[in-house]
Symmetry: C2
Subunit: 132 residues, 2 copies
DNA sequence: CGGATATTCAACCTCATGGTTGAACATAAC
DNA sequence: GTTATGTTCAACCATGAGGTTGAATATCCG
């Protein structure tokens, strides 16, 4: 499992582009030729060809040359690695949602209990400066 | 569904780099200053600063300026969109694994039927690997 | 054979990325 | 105040990405 990192680089790099994501979506329906893949976009065939090569390098599509047309089919398997990587972070947002929910509940409880309590004043801290 | 695409572009783009993925991993432990984030890598602070800005633009980290140090903390929430996108393709690899398994099973059954008697029955369970 | 179709290749352009260096800025410490 | 620390900024460089054009290649069809 040498360069797992390179695999993730190429996968995430490949799907970090709207055009390529749309191509994958087309391929999820059925295999397409290069021309068919290019058709929806306002780019030249050469440009589409490059996109397809990026997807191919990431292992996300396979190509079968049939005469003069190249038939591309989806191979989603490598995406699995990407999903697994992201999934490690899943607990961070679910956790945050849980905390939010807990705070919300606590707040509601406090409000209903603090009809008599005057001092409840949390205040907002200075916001972080905008970069740039 | 306005600029969902830009969000995915920036998220996937941000995590399509080994250094930045490692930074996120550090941040998953606890918040870090810019210097701390940069320390493990053989790059200048300026370069690290740029990486951090990429992560920030993707919304994956938040920065709190504390005096002269900038404390960065993970915000994994935007990754959720990325995970959801990839997950649409999950069925394609699980499906393929199922087909592979079925073929394999059929092959074994045929072989054992040819070699011995017609009991190609209870080898392996279907074991449908259906995540979620 | 010759012509049409499908795709790539090579050269080029522009712009973003990842890296450097050195100066600037802001704040903490003396 | 002066100095040290943490971070960014600006300029620059090299490389790659995404796009174009025009030519080359391979294949099908008449």
């Amino acid at each position: 499992m040498v360069e797992h990192n390179e695999q993730l680089d190429s996968i995430f790099g490949a799907i970090a582009d709207t055009t390529r994501r749309a191509m994958l979506l087309s391929l999820a329906q059925r295999p397409h030729s290069v021309g068919e893949l290019a058709a929806p976009f306002d780019i030249t065939l050469a440009a589409a060809s490059k996109h397809i090569k990026v997807l191919e390098r990431a292992g996300l599509i396979e190509r079968e040359v049939q005469g003069r047309t190249h038939l591309c089919r989806l191979n989603a398997a490598p995406m699995h690695a990407g999903l697994e990587w992201i999934r490690h972070y899943e607990r961070f947002w679910t956790q945050r949602l849980d905390v939010l929910e807990a705070l919300l509940k606590a707040d509601l409880a406090k409000e209903s209990a603090a009809a008599t309590d005057p001092v409840a004043g949390g205040h907002n801290k200075p916001k972080s400066k905008r970069p740039r």
